[in-house]
Protein backbone atom coordinates (compact mmCIF):
# COMPACT_ATOMS: atom_id res chain seq x y z
CA UNK A 1 0.00 0.00 0.00
CA UNK A 2 2.67 2.51 1.07
CA UNK A 3 6.37 2.20 0.67
CA UNK A 4 8.97 4.69 1.72
CA UNK A 5 12.28 4.17 -0.07
CA UNK A 6 15.60 5.57 1.17
CA UNK A 7 13.98 8.71 2.51
CA UNK A 8 16.24 11.56 3.60
CA UNK A 9 14.80 14.73 5.12
CA UNK A 10 16.81 17.78 6.19
CA UNK A 11 16.03 20.75 8.39
CA UNK A 12 18.60 23.25 7.19
CA UNK A 13 21.98 21.58 7.67
CA UNK A 14 20.68 18.88 9.98
CA UNK A 15 19.58 15.55 8.60
CA UNK A 16 16.44 14.53 10.45
CA UNK A 17 16.05 11.26 8.55
CA UNK A 18 18.79 9.32 6.79
CA UNK A 19 17.84 6.84 4.09
CA UNK A 20 14.84 5.38 5.88
CA UNK A 21 12.77 2.69 4.20
CA UNK A 22 9.52 1.28 5.49
CA UNK A 23 6.75 -0.78 3.97
CA UNK A 24 3.10 -0.92 4.98
CA UNK A 25 0.61 -3.27 3.38
CA UNK A 26 -3.15 -2.88 3.40
CA UNK A 27 -4.90 -3.83 6.64
CA UNK A 28 -1.68 -3.92 8.63
CA UNK A 29 -1.08 -2.25 11.95
CA UNK A 30 2.51 -1.03 12.06
CA UNK A 31 4.42 0.50 14.97
CA UNK A 32 7.08 3.16 14.73
CA UNK A 33 9.04 3.56 17.94
CA UNK A 34 12.03 5.53 19.07
CA UNK A 35 13.17 8.11 21.56
CA UNK A 36 12.36 11.82 21.45
CA UNK A 37 13.98 13.49 18.47
CA UNK A 38 14.63 10.22 16.65
CA UNK A 39 12.68 11.38 13.60
CA UNK A 40 9.31 9.65 14.04
CA UNK A 41 7.23 12.78 13.62
CA UNK A 42 9.42 13.90 10.72
CA UNK A 43 8.72 10.63 8.95
CA UNK A 44 4.95 11.07 9.37
CA UNK A 45 5.16 14.69 8.26
CA UNK A 46 7.15 13.69 5.18
CA UNK A 47 4.50 11.12 4.28
CA UNK A 48 1.80 13.77 4.86
CA UNK A 49 3.67 16.24 2.65
CA UNK A 50 4.28 18.79 5.41
CA UNK A 51 8.07 18.66 5.12
CA UNK A 52 10.02 18.56 1.85
CA UNK A 53 11.87 15.42 0.85
CA UNK A 54 15.60 15.69 0.21
CA UNK A 55 16.17 12.25 -1.29
CA UNK A 56 14.25 9.05 -1.74
CA UNK A 57 10.70 8.26 -2.74
CA UNK A 58 7.30 7.74 -1.17
CA UNK A 59 5.13 5.39 -3.20
CA UNK A 60 1.40 4.96 -2.64
CA UNK A 61 -0.24 2.23 -4.71
CA UNK A 62 2.32 2.52 -7.51
CA UNK A 63 2.19 6.29 -7.58
CA UNK A 64 4.98 8.57 -6.39
CA UNK A 65 3.83 11.06 -3.77
CA UNK A 66 6.97 13.20 -3.82
CA UNK A 67 6.12 16.88 -3.97
CA UNK A 68 2.40 16.48 -3.24
CA UNK A 69 1.13 19.17 -0.84
CA UNK A 70 -0.76 17.93 2.26
CA UNK A 71 -4.12 19.23 1.09
CA UNK A 72 -3.87 16.99 -2.01
CA UNK A 73 -2.50 13.99 -0.13
CA UNK A 74 -5.39 13.73 2.29
CA UNK A 75 -7.73 13.16 -0.66
CA UNK A 76 -5.99 9.85 -1.20
CA UNK A 77 -6.99 8.71 2.25
CA UNK A 78 -3.60 9.28 3.89
CA UNK A 79 -4.65 10.91 7.13
CA UNK A 80 -2.55 11.96 10.08
CA UNK A 81 -3.64 12.58 13.65
CA UNK A 82 -0.85 14.97 14.62
CA UNK A 83 1.14 14.98 17.82
CA UNK A 84 -0.48 17.14 20.50
CA UNK A 85 -3.80 16.66 18.65
CA UNK A 86 -3.72 20.12 17.06
CA UNK A 87 -7.45 20.70 17.35
CA UNK A 88 -9.01 24.01 16.38
CA UNK A 89 -9.39 25.27 19.97
CA UNK A 90 -11.97 28.02 19.42
CA UNK A 91 -14.18 25.92 17.21
CA UNK A 92 -16.84 23.62 18.65
CA UNK A 93 -16.42 19.87 18.77
CA UNK A 94 -18.88 19.53 15.91
CA UNK A 95 -17.04 22.12 13.80
CA UNK A 96 -13.73 20.34 14.43
CA UNK A 97 -15.25 17.12 13.20
CA UNK A 98 -16.84 18.77 10.16
CA UNK A 99 -13.43 20.20 9.25
CA UNK A 100 -12.21 16.61 9.01
CA UNK A 101 -14.56 16.17 6.06
CA UNK A 102 -13.28 19.29 4.32
CA UNK A 103 -11.70 17.72 1.28
CA UNK A 104 -14.10 17.41 -1.66
CA UNK A 105 -14.10 13.60 -1.91
CA UNK A 106 -15.74 13.19 1.49
CA UNK A 107 -17.61 16.45 1.97
CA UNK A 108 -20.94 15.21 0.61
CA UNK A 109 -21.05 12.45 3.20
CA UNK A 110 -20.10 14.75 6.09
CA UNK A 111 -23.43 14.53 7.95
CA UNK A 112 -23.51 10.76 7.61
CA UNK A 113 -19.93 10.47 8.86
CA UNK A 114 -20.73 12.82 11.72
CA UNK A 115 -23.53 10.55 12.94
CA UNK A 116 -21.17 7.59 12.72
CA UNK A 117 -18.49 9.35 14.76
CA UNK A 118 -21.07 10.38 17.35
CA UNK A 119 -22.27 6.81 17.68
CA UNK A 120 -18.69 5.57 18.13
CA UNK A 121 -17.87 8.38 20.57
CA UNK A 122 -21.13 9.18 22.40
CA UNK A 123 -19.28 11.53 24.74
CA UNK A 124 -18.49 13.80 21.80
CA UNK A 125 -22.18 13.99 20.91
CA UNK A 126 -22.89 15.34 24.40
CA UNK A 127 -20.20 17.97 24.00
CA UNK A 128 -20.81 18.87 20.36
CA UNK A 129 -21.46 22.56 21.08
CA UNK A 130 -18.50 23.01 23.43
CA UNK A 131 -15.23 24.59 22.34
CA UNK A 132 -12.67 21.87 21.63
CA UNK A 133 -10.14 23.74 23.75
CA UNK A 134 -12.31 23.28 26.85
CA UNK A 135 -12.31 19.47 26.79
CA UNK A 136 -10.15 17.10 28.83
CA UNK A 137 -7.09 15.50 27.20
CA UNK A 138 -8.80 12.18 26.58
CA UNK A 139 -11.84 13.84 25.04
CA UNK A 140 -9.59 16.02 22.89
CA UNK A 141 -7.84 12.92 21.59
CA UNK A 142 -11.25 11.47 20.72
CA UNK A 143 -12.09 14.64 18.80
CA UNK A 144 -8.76 14.37 16.97
CA UNK A 145 -9.49 10.76 16.03
CA UNK A 146 -13.09 11.54 15.13
CA UNK A 147 -11.87 14.35 12.90
CA UNK A 148 -9.53 11.90 11.18
CA UNK A 149 -12.34 9.40 10.67
CA UNK A 150 -14.46 12.10 9.03
CA UNK A 151 -11.77 12.24 6.34
CA UNK A 152 -12.36 8.53 5.52
CA UNK A 153 -8.80 7.35 6.09
CA UNK A 154 -7.36 4.34 4.32
CA UNK A 155 -4.01 4.81 6.04
CA UNK A 156 -4.35 6.38 9.48
CA UNK A 157 -1.13 7.69 11.00
CA UNK A 158 -1.34 8.42 14.71
CA UNK A 159 1.42 10.44 16.34
CA UNK A 160 1.65 9.87 20.10
CA UNK A 161 -2.11 9.44 20.61
CA UNK A 162 -1.71 8.67 24.32
CA UNK A 163 0.68 11.50 25.19
CA UNK A 164 -0.38 13.34 28.33
CA UNK A 165 -3.39 11.11 28.98
CA UNK A 166 -4.22 9.24 32.16
CA UNK A 167 -3.47 5.49 31.98
CA UNK A 168 -7.20 4.79 31.79
CA UNK A 169 -7.77 7.23 28.91
CA UNK A 170 -4.67 5.92 27.14
CA UNK A 171 -5.92 2.33 27.37
CA UNK A 172 -9.26 3.49 25.96
CA UNK A 173 -7.53 5.17 23.01
CA UNK A 174 -5.43 2.06 22.26
CA UNK A 175 -8.61 -0.03 22.32
CA UNK A 176 -10.24 2.32 19.82
CA UNK A 177 -7.20 2.10 17.53
CA UNK A 178 -7.46 -1.67 17.57
CA UNK A 179 -11.15 -1.49 16.69
CA UNK A 180 -10.41 0.82 13.77
CA UNK A 181 -7.84 -1.62 12.43
CA UNK A 182 -10.38 -4.44 12.70
CA UNK A 183 -12.75 -2.34 10.60
CA UNK A 184 -10.13 -2.40 7.85
CA UNK A 185 -8.19 0.83 8.32
CA UNK A 186 -4.45 0.42 7.89
CA UNK A 187 -2.60 1.95 10.82
CA UNK A 188 0.81 3.45 11.43
CA UNK A 189 1.17 4.06 15.14
CA UNK A 190 3.90 6.25 16.60
CA UNK A 191 4.23 6.04 20.33
CA UNK A 192 6.58 6.14 23.27
CA UNK A 193 4.37 3.67 25.11
CA UNK A 194 6.49 0.92 23.60
CA UNK A 195 5.02 -1.98 25.54
CA UNK A 196 1.39 -1.15 24.79
CA UNK A 197 2.18 -0.31 21.19
CA UNK A 198 4.05 -3.53 20.45
CA UNK A 199 1.25 -5.47 22.11
CA UNK A 200 -1.38 -4.34 19.61
CA UNK A 201 0.68 -3.95 16.40
CA UNK A 202 1.98 -6.72 14.14
CA UNK A 203 5.15 -5.22 12.72
CA UNK A 204 7.47 -2.57 14.07
CA UNK A 205 10.25 -0.21 13.10
CA UNK A 206 12.71 1.36 15.52
CA UNK A 207 14.24 4.75 14.71
CA UNK A 208 17.34 6.18 16.36
CA UNK A 209 18.77 9.59 15.44
CA UNK A 210 17.07 9.52 12.07
CA UNK A 211 18.28 6.05 11.16
CA UNK A 212 16.26 2.86 11.09
CA UNK A 213 18.10 0.55 13.48
CA UNK A 214 15.72 -2.35 13.87
CA UNK A 215 12.60 -3.86 12.39
CA UNK A 216 10.65 -7.02 12.71
CA UNK A 217 7.54 -8.76 14.00
CA UNK A 218 6.37 -7.13 17.17
CA UNK A 219 6.72 -10.38 19.11
CA UNK A 220 10.37 -10.54 18.10
CA UNK A 221 10.89 -6.87 18.93
CA UNK A 222 9.44 -7.38 22.39
CA UNK A 223 12.07 -10.06 23.00
CA UNK A 224 14.93 -8.08 21.44
CA UNK A 225 17.55 -7.25 24.08
CA UNK A 226 18.19 -3.81 22.61
CA UNK A 227 14.52 -2.85 22.68
CA UNK A 228 14.24 -4.23 26.19
CA UNK A 229 17.09 -2.13 27.54
CA UNK A 230 16.44 1.06 25.57
CA UNK A 231 12.68 1.29 25.66
CA UNK A 232 11.24 -1.09 28.18
CA UNK A 233 13.74 -0.40 30.93
CA UNK A 234 14.42 -4.07 31.53
Amino acid sequence: MLSVENLTVCYGQMKALRSVSIEISAGQMVALIGANGSGKTTLLNAISGLVPIEEGRIIWEDQSLNGFPPDKLCRKGIIQVPEGRKLFPSMTVEENLIMGAYHPNVRKKAQESLQKVFSSFPRLADRRRQFAGSLSGGEQQMVAMGRALMAKPRLLMLDEPSLGLSPKAAAEIFEIIRELNKEGITILLVSQEVMQTLAITTYGYVLENGVLVLQGDCKQLQEDPKVKTSYLGM
Binding site: I79, P82, A151
Partner: protein
Protein backbone atom coordinates in the same frame (compact mmCIF):
# COMPACT_ATOMS: atom_id res chain seq x y z
CA UNK B 1 -26.42 66.06 32.77
CA UNK B 2 -29.06 65.97 30.12
CA UNK B 3 -30.54 62.48 29.73
CA UNK B 4 -31.64 63.17 26.16
CA UNK B 5 -28.15 64.26 25.20
CA UNK B 6 -26.60 61.17 26.81
CA UNK B 7 -28.99 58.87 25.02
CA UNK B 8 -28.58 60.68 21.72
CA UNK B 9 -24.78 60.45 21.85
CA UNK B 10 -25.01 56.84 22.96
CA UNK B 11 -27.01 56.05 19.82
CA UNK B 12 -24.63 57.98 17.56
CA UNK B 13 -21.79 56.13 19.26
CA UNK B 14 -23.37 52.77 18.48
CA UNK B 15 -23.90 53.77 14.86
CA UNK B 16 -20.31 54.95 14.57
CA UNK B 17 -19.11 51.85 16.36
CA UNK B 18 -20.86 49.50 13.97
CA UNK B 19 -19.00 51.14 11.10
CA UNK B 20 -15.67 50.82 12.97
CA UNK B 21 -16.55 47.20 13.51
CA UNK B 22 -17.10 46.54 9.80
CA UNK B 23 -13.82 48.25 8.96
CA UNK B 24 -12.09 46.41 11.78
CA UNK B 25 -13.09 42.78 11.19
CA UNK B 26 -11.20 42.51 7.90
CA UNK B 27 -8.12 44.10 9.44
CA UNK B 28 -8.39 41.63 12.30
CA UNK B 29 -8.79 38.63 9.98
CA UNK B 30 -5.76 39.41 7.80
CA UNK B 31 -3.74 39.93 10.95
CA UNK B 32 -4.95 36.77 12.64
CA UNK B 33 -5.13 34.37 9.72
CA UNK B 34 -2.24 35.56 7.56
CA UNK B 35 -0.01 37.40 10.07
CA UNK B 36 -0.21 40.31 7.70
CA UNK B 37 -0.72 43.72 9.32
CA UNK B 38 -2.45 45.40 6.46
CA UNK B 39 -1.54 49.09 6.80
CA UNK B 40 -3.35 49.99 3.55
CA UNK B 41 -6.63 48.53 4.86
CA UNK B 42 -7.98 52.01 5.65
CA UNK B 43 -6.76 53.34 2.30
CA UNK B 44 -8.85 50.71 0.52
CA UNK B 45 -11.79 51.84 2.61
CA UNK B 46 -11.12 55.37 1.47
CA UNK B 47 -10.94 54.17 -2.15
CA UNK B 48 -14.43 52.73 -1.68
CA UNK B 49 -15.61 56.04 -0.28
CA UNK B 50 -14.18 58.03 -3.21
CA UNK B 51 -15.61 55.58 -5.75
CA UNK B 52 -19.03 55.98 -4.12
CA UNK B 53 -18.55 59.75 -4.15
CA UNK B 54 -17.87 59.85 -7.90
CA UNK B 55 -20.63 57.40 -8.72
CA UNK B 56 -23.07 59.57 -6.78
CA UNK B 57 -21.74 62.83 -8.17
CA UNK B 58 -21.68 61.88 -11.86
CA UNK B 59 -24.16 59.05 -12.24
CA UNK B 60 -26.49 59.55 -9.30
CA UNK B 61 -25.77 56.08 -7.95
CA UNK B 62 -26.91 55.66 -4.36
CA UNK B 63 -24.15 54.74 -1.85
CA UNK B 64 -26.04 51.54 -1.00
CA UNK B 65 -25.75 50.40 -4.61
CA UNK B 66 -22.12 51.55 -4.72
CA UNK B 67 -21.35 49.46 -1.66
CA UNK B 68 -22.98 46.43 -3.26
CA UNK B 69 -20.95 46.95 -6.45
CA UNK B 70 -17.67 47.72 -4.74
CA UNK B 71 -17.60 44.45 -2.80
CA UNK B 72 -17.18 42.07 -5.78
CA UNK B 73 -14.92 44.54 -7.65
CA UNK B 74 -12.59 45.04 -4.71
CA UNK B 75 -12.67 41.30 -4.06
CA UNK B 76 -11.31 40.55 -7.54
CA UNK B 77 -8.79 43.36 -7.36
CA UNK B 78 -7.57 42.12 -3.98
CA UNK B 79 -7.16 38.56 -5.32
CA UNK B 80 -4.79 39.94 -7.96
CA UNK B 81 -3.00 42.06 -5.41
CA UNK B 82 -2.55 39.05 -3.15
CA UNK B 83 -0.93 37.00 -5.90
CA UNK B 84 1.24 39.89 -7.01
CA UNK B 85 2.39 41.43 -3.73
CA UNK B 86 1.26 39.62 -0.59
CA UNK B 87 1.93 35.98 -1.45
CA UNK B 88 5.61 36.60 -2.27
CA UNK B 89 6.25 38.21 1.12
CA UNK B 90 4.69 35.34 3.07
CA UNK B 91 8.02 33.60 2.42
CA UNK B 92 9.79 36.30 4.44
CA UNK B 93 11.20 35.34 7.84
CA UNK B 94 9.28 38.06 9.63
CA UNK B 95 5.96 38.28 7.81
CA UNK B 96 4.48 40.87 10.18
CA UNK B 97 7.31 43.35 9.64
CA UNK B 98 7.60 42.69 5.89
CA UNK B 99 3.86 43.06 5.41
CA UNK B 100 3.75 46.30 7.40
CA UNK B 101 6.48 47.89 5.32
CA UNK B 102 5.02 46.70 2.03
CA UNK B 103 1.45 47.77 2.76
CA UNK B 104 2.63 51.07 4.26
CA UNK B 105 4.13 51.82 0.84
CA UNK B 106 0.92 50.69 -0.79
CA UNK B 107 -1.08 53.04 1.45
CA UNK B 108 1.10 55.99 0.40
CA UNK B 109 0.71 55.10 -3.27
CA UNK B 110 -3.06 54.81 -2.90
CA UNK B 111 -3.23 58.08 -0.98
CA UNK B 112 -1.35 59.91 -3.73
CA UNK B 113 -3.45 58.37 -6.48
CA UNK B 114 -6.58 59.48 -4.64
CA UNK B 115 -5.16 62.97 -4.15
CA UNK B 116 -4.42 63.14 -7.88
CA UNK B 117 -7.88 62.03 -8.96
CA UNK B 118 -10.07 63.62 -6.32
CA UNK B 119 -7.86 66.52 -5.08
CA UNK B 120 -7.07 67.18 -1.46
CA UNK B 121 -10.33 68.93 -0.50
CA UNK B 122 -12.54 67.26 2.07
CA UNK B 123 -15.55 65.50 0.56
CA UNK B 124 -18.90 64.38 1.89
CA UNK B 125 -21.31 61.82 0.53
CA UNK B 126 -24.58 63.63 -0.01
CA UNK B 127 -27.27 61.27 -1.29
CA UNK B 128 -30.75 62.64 -1.97
CA UNK B 129 -31.89 61.82 1.56
CA UNK B 130 -28.86 63.44 3.21
CA UNK B 131 -30.79 66.31 4.74
CA UNK B 132 -33.60 64.09 6.04
CA UNK B 133 -33.79 62.70 9.52
CA UNK B 134 -35.83 60.26 11.51
CA UNK B 135 -37.29 61.98 14.53
CA UNK B 136 -38.43 59.82 17.42
CA UNK B 137 -39.62 61.87 20.36
CA UNK B 138 -36.73 64.09 21.40
CA UNK B 139 -34.23 62.03 19.40
CA UNK B 140 -32.96 62.82 15.99
CA UNK B 141 -31.29 60.37 13.56
CA UNK B 142 -29.95 61.60 10.25
CA UNK B 143 -30.82 59.24 7.38
CA UNK B 144 -27.22 58.89 6.06
CA UNK B 145 -26.14 57.79 9.53
CA UNK B 146 -28.93 55.23 9.65
CA UNK B 147 -27.96 53.93 6.21
CA UNK B 148 -24.28 53.70 7.18
CA UNK B 149 -25.22 51.86 10.34
CA UNK B 150 -27.61 49.52 8.53
CA UNK B 151 -25.08 48.68 5.81
CA UNK B 152 -22.42 47.94 8.40
CA UNK B 153 -24.77 45.71 10.32
CA UNK B 154 -25.60 43.78 7.13
CA UNK B 155 -21.90 43.53 6.25
CA UNK B 156 -20.89 42.18 9.65
CA UNK B 157 -23.77 39.74 9.78
CA UNK B 158 -22.92 38.44 6.32
CA UNK B 159 -19.27 38.02 7.26
CA UNK B 160 -20.22 36.28 10.50
CA UNK B 161 -22.54 33.84 8.71
CA UNK B 162 -19.88 33.18 6.08
CA UNK B 163 -17.30 32.32 8.74
CA UNK B 164 -19.73 30.29 10.81
CA UNK B 165 -21.80 28.41 8.25
CA UNK B 166 -19.77 27.80 5.10
CA UNK B 167 -16.94 25.34 4.56
CA UNK B 168 -14.68 28.06 3.21
CA UNK B 169 -15.45 30.28 6.19
CA UNK B 170 -14.67 27.46 8.61
CA UNK B 171 -11.42 26.85 6.74
CA UNK B 172 -10.50 30.50 7.31
CA UNK B 173 -10.99 30.06 11.05
CA UNK B 174 -9.22 26.70 11.06
CA UNK B 175 -6.24 28.16 9.19
CA UNK B 176 -6.01 30.91 11.78
CA UNK B 177 -6.25 28.62 14.82
CA UNK B 178 -4.15 25.69 13.70
CA UNK B 179 -2.67 26.06 10.20
CA UNK B 180 -0.81 22.74 10.15
CA UNK B 181 -3.85 20.66 11.07
CA UNK B 182 -5.93 22.62 8.55
CA UNK B 183 -3.46 21.62 5.83
CA UNK B 184 -3.55 17.97 6.92
CA UNK B 185 -7.31 17.92 6.37
CA UNK B 186 -7.32 19.46 2.93
CA UNK B 187 -7.13 23.24 3.39
CA UNK B 188 -4.98 24.99 0.81
CA UNK B 189 -3.46 27.80 2.85
CA UNK B 190 -2.62 29.99 -0.14
CA UNK B 191 -6.16 29.81 -1.43
CA UNK B 192 -7.59 30.54 2.01
CA UNK B 193 -5.17 33.44 2.51
CA UNK B 194 -6.20 34.92 -0.82
CA UNK B 195 -9.89 34.66 0.09
CA UNK B 196 -9.24 36.16 3.53
CA UNK B 197 -7.30 39.06 2.09
CA UNK B 198 -9.87 39.69 -0.64
CA UNK B 199 -12.75 39.56 1.84
CA UNK B 200 -10.92 41.95 4.14
CA UNK B 201 -10.27 44.44 1.36
CA UNK B 202 -13.83 44.28 0.05
CA UNK B 203 -15.35 44.74 3.51
CA UNK B 204 -12.94 47.65 3.98
CA UNK B 205 -14.38 49.21 0.83
CA UNK B 206 -17.93 48.78 2.09
CA UNK B 207 -16.89 50.05 5.53
CA UNK B 208 -15.26 53.09 3.95
CA UNK B 209 -18.51 53.94 2.18
CA UNK B 210 -20.39 53.59 5.47
CA UNK B 211 -17.89 55.81 7.26
CA UNK B 212 -18.18 58.37 4.46
CA UNK B 213 -21.91 58.53 5.15
CA UNK B 214 -21.13 59.60 8.71
CA UNK B 215 -18.02 61.76 8.32
CA UNK B 216 -16.27 63.88 5.74
CA UNK B 217 -13.08 62.44 4.25
CA UNK B 218 -9.93 63.48 2.40
CA UNK B 219 -7.00 61.56 0.87
CA UNK B 220 -5.08 61.25 4.13
CA UNK B 221 -8.09 60.30 6.30
CA UNK B 222 -7.02 56.66 6.17
CA UNK B 223 -4.20 57.42 8.62
CA UNK B 224 -6.67 58.31 11.35
CA UNK B 225 -8.90 55.38 10.35
CA UNK B 226 -5.89 53.09 10.70
CA UNK B 227 -5.34 54.12 14.30
CA UNK B 228 -8.98 53.33 15.01
CA UNK B 229 -8.47 49.96 13.32
CA UNK B 230 -5.59 49.16 15.64
CA UNK B 231 -7.68 50.25 18.59
CA UNK B 232 -10.62 48.07 17.59
CA UNK B 233 -8.46 45.01 16.95
CA UNK B 234 -6.42 45.37 20.13
CA UNK B 235 -9.52 45.79 22.28
CA UNK B 236 -11.38 42.98 20.52
CA UNK B 237 -8.52 40.50 20.14
CA UNK B 238 -6.68 39.65 16.94
CA UNK B 239 -8.63 37.35 14.63
CA UNK B 240 -11.66 37.46 16.92
CA UNK B 241 -14.61 38.57 14.78
CA UNK B 242 -17.24 38.88 17.49
CA UNK B 243 -14.71 40.56 19.78
CA UNK B 244 -13.78 43.02 17.05
CA UNK B 245 -17.42 43.85 16.41
CA UNK B 246 -18.10 44.42 20.11
CA UNK B 247 -14.90 46.44 20.44
CA UNK B 248 -16.08 48.63 17.56
CA UNK B 249 -19.32 49.30 19.43
CA UNK B 250 -17.54 50.02 22.72
CA UNK B 251 -15.11 52.43 21.10
CA UNK B 252 -17.91 54.08 19.16
CA UNK B 253 -19.85 54.65 22.36
CA UNK B 254 -16.80 56.01 24.19
CA UNK B 255 -15.95 58.44 21.39
CA UNK B 256 -19.64 59.33 21.02
CA UNK B 257 -19.99 60.19 24.68
CA UNK B 258 -16.67 62.02 24.90
CA UNK B 259 -17.58 64.08 21.82
CA UNK B 260 -20.77 65.15 23.55
CA UNK B 261 -19.29 66.06 26.89
CA UNK B 262 -15.64 66.92 26.37
CA UNK B 263 -13.98 69.71 24.45
CA UNK B 264 -13.19 68.53 20.94
CA UNK B 265 -9.42 68.38 21.48
CA UNK B 266 -9.85 65.90 24.34
CA UNK B 267 -11.68 63.23 22.34
CA UNK B 268 -8.65 61.65 20.72
CA UNK B 269 -6.76 61.86 23.98
CA UNK B 270 -9.45 59.80 25.69
CA UNK B 271 -9.62 57.29 22.84
CA UNK B 272 -5.91 56.71 22.52
CA UNK B 273 -5.33 56.87 26.25
CA UNK B 274 -7.71 53.92 26.24
CA UNK B 275 -5.56 52.15 23.64
CA UNK B 276 -2.50 52.52 25.86
CA UNK B 277 -4.36 51.28 28.92
CA UNK B 278 -5.44 48.22 26.97
CA UNK B 279 -1.96 47.53 25.67
CA UNK B 280 -0.63 47.61 29.20
CA UNK B 281 -3.31 45.65 31.03
CA UNK B 282 -5.08 43.47 28.45
CA UNK B 283 -2.81 43.04 25.43
CA UNK B 284 -4.91 40.08 24.29
CA UNK B 285 -8.17 42.01 24.23
CA UNK B 286 -11.10 42.11 26.60
CA UNK B 287 -12.45 38.66 25.85
CA UNK B 288 -11.12 35.60 27.59
CA UNK B 289 -12.50 33.01 25.21
CA UNK B 290 -11.86 33.54 21.53
CA UNK B 291 -15.34 33.72 20.07
CA UNK B 292 -15.47 32.43 16.52
Amino acid sequence: MDAVLIFQSLISGIMMGMVYALLGVGFSLTWGVMHVIHISHGAFGLLGAYAAYSLLQYFGVDPIASAAMSVPLLFLMACGLYQLLIRPITRAKNIIMASMILTFGLAIILENIMALIWKADPRVLTPAYSSGALIVGPFYFQYPHLVGFGLSLVGITALYLFLKKTYTGMAVRAAWQQPEAARLYGVNLFQISMITFALAVSTAGAGGICLALLNSFEPHSHNLWLIYLFLVVIVGGVGNVIGTALAGLIIGVITGLSMAFLPFQWVNLVTFGLLMVFLIFRPHGIFKQEGL
